[in-house]
Amino acid sequence: MTSPLLTVDSVAKSFQSPRGDSTPVIRDISMRLDPGEFVSVIGPSGSGKSTLFTLLAEQTEPTSGSVTFHGDRDPKQPFSAYMPQKDLLFPWLSVEDNAALGLVLRGMSKRQSRERIAELLPTFRLEGRAKAYPFELSGGMRQRVALLRTVVQDRPVLLLDEPFGALDYLTRTELQLWLADLCAEKGLSVVLITHDVPEALFLSDRVYVLSNRPATIRMVLEQDAPRPRTLDYLETSEFKHNERVLLSELTESTRLGEGI
């Protein structure tokens, strides 16, 4: 067994209201991410996925438990780069400058950062669009720019928060296929948050199913099929079986939910 890159150990998180009441959002979550692995977290809406995300992104501290990174890292930088749900591209910056934001903020010169982006544009299917502005791009392209902005930061872990949620079905499928190839090719270590069951199954080595609030891990599903997978994978009995298991688990957790 390889040594994990990231471990989440019995993490709990509560929020204090101004009146002093404490609302638990995450009761007990443990999970791991190995180097080069693709892991998905799936759960009903409002289940605390985003809170888990802010913990992984080191934006908040857990109330108890720990998030530990085991790999090499620049101690001054977070170990993860994150891609939020909204693309958050700045309308006043061109594609290359949007993508290079993380590099420039780290102190790289504008010229150098643009050169680095130029090398990566073909991989992200953005050739010839370096000087374009975000409003001149399609939804899928904007999402690829946002992903490029995340990947180019060269952090050991990528955190993707429902990156394709706002896209139409065809564009989403196209991007999922492309992302599967990209992650396998570059050996990226990824945590994906989604509520799209086929997306989680298609992309991941392991799927964590969250319960309703306060969140616990209801189920861990390991998938042995090698990555990157092709559309044929959607026809396999493994996929169909897992899809059924996940859906019944998720609908069950919604039905049993209290306080919604």
Partner: protein, 279 residues
């Protein structure tokens, strides 16, 4: 019978309008309509002054205004230059002060919470009444007039700039922080560009107010300027020259208004491309 019916229904179908050609026609209309209205206004005015039962000192005809105004062009130009100087310098002072204050308020939350309600309240102070006081305190030179023009535009500019700085998407700020950006870097990379459209709009609204307040400050007491020119000519019953000065005032306002568009093109080059893409 059927054929005739079908033919009739085809004819009744509304003509499809090509949106592009339509927008060209709209642009032409947008220029022609106000021009025609202006010409009509002058025609009515000219007719009323020519055939109406009024003395030229009460209602001078537009032709008379233009002719006599041109005759006194040297004095008018000198006055206009003085007014323009006060206006532009006052605006520059206001911009510098407003940007500084808005930045400070955006950065320091307690300061913002303390001062913002006061600033909003202060907008209702009839600043124009300060003009005579300024003249009493600081004299007849350009200084107090620049200060007055500056103060008139300071509050609206500060508020619109502050609103722009605060309009930045908080999620974008979190994203930048996750990339290792300091608060200052977030301010420069995110808040300042977000504020620019608000700032420009604030400036554009100010341009007409500001010429009027410059003239009012001169009205109260000045050695030269359009305000003092109008007052002098009014006292001499030269209404034609008063009107001539009014025309020049309007022209200055329009030039400043147009200048804000030039500034927008300079500061927000992406906006023009976006508008062009939407057209």
């Amino acid at each position: 019978m059927t054929t005739a019916h079908a033919r009739r229904s085809t004819a009744a179908r509304p003509a499809r309008v090509n949106p592009r050609r339509n927008s060209g026609r709209q642009t032409a209309f947008r220029i022609l309509a106000p021009t025609a209205a202006l010409i009509a206004l002058f025609a009515v005015w000219q007719a009323a002054a020519t055939w109406g039962d009024t003395a030229a000192t009460i209602l001078p005809s537009p032709l008379r205004v233009v002719t006599n105004g041109w005759g006194d062009r040297e004095n008018i130009a000198e006055a206009a230059a003085a007014t323009l100087q006060i206006t532009v310098l006052g605006l520059v002072v206001a911009i510098l002060a407003a940007v500084t204050i808005a930045s400070l308020l955006s950065f320091i939350a307690p300061l913002r919470m303390t001062l913002l309600p006061l600033l909003i309240g202060a907008q209702s102070v009839p600043i124009i009444v300060l003009a005579p006081l300024f003249v009493i305190w600081f004299g007849f030179d350009a200084g107090p007039k620049i200060a007055l023009v500056g103060i008139v535009s300071l509050l609206p500019l500060t508020l619109s700039t502050l609103q722009g700085l605060q309009s930045a998407d908080p999620d974008a700020a979190i994203l930048l922080r996750s990339m290792g950006a300091s608060r200052w870097k977030v301010f420069v990379t995110l808040r300042v560009p977000s504020a620019l459209p608000y700032f420009i709009t604030g400036l554009r609204i100010m341009t007409s107010f500001i010429v009027v307040s410059a003239i009012f400050s001169e009205y109260v007491g000045a050695k030269t300027g359009l305000g003092i020119y109008m007052q002098t000519e009014k006292n001499l019953f030269r209404t034609d020259l008063v009107f001539a000065a009014v025309f020049v005032t309007i022209a200055i306002g329009l030039v400043l208004f147009a200048a804000t568009y030039a500034l927008e093109a300079l500061l927000l080059p992406w906006e023009r491309r976006r508008k062009a893409a939407q057209r």
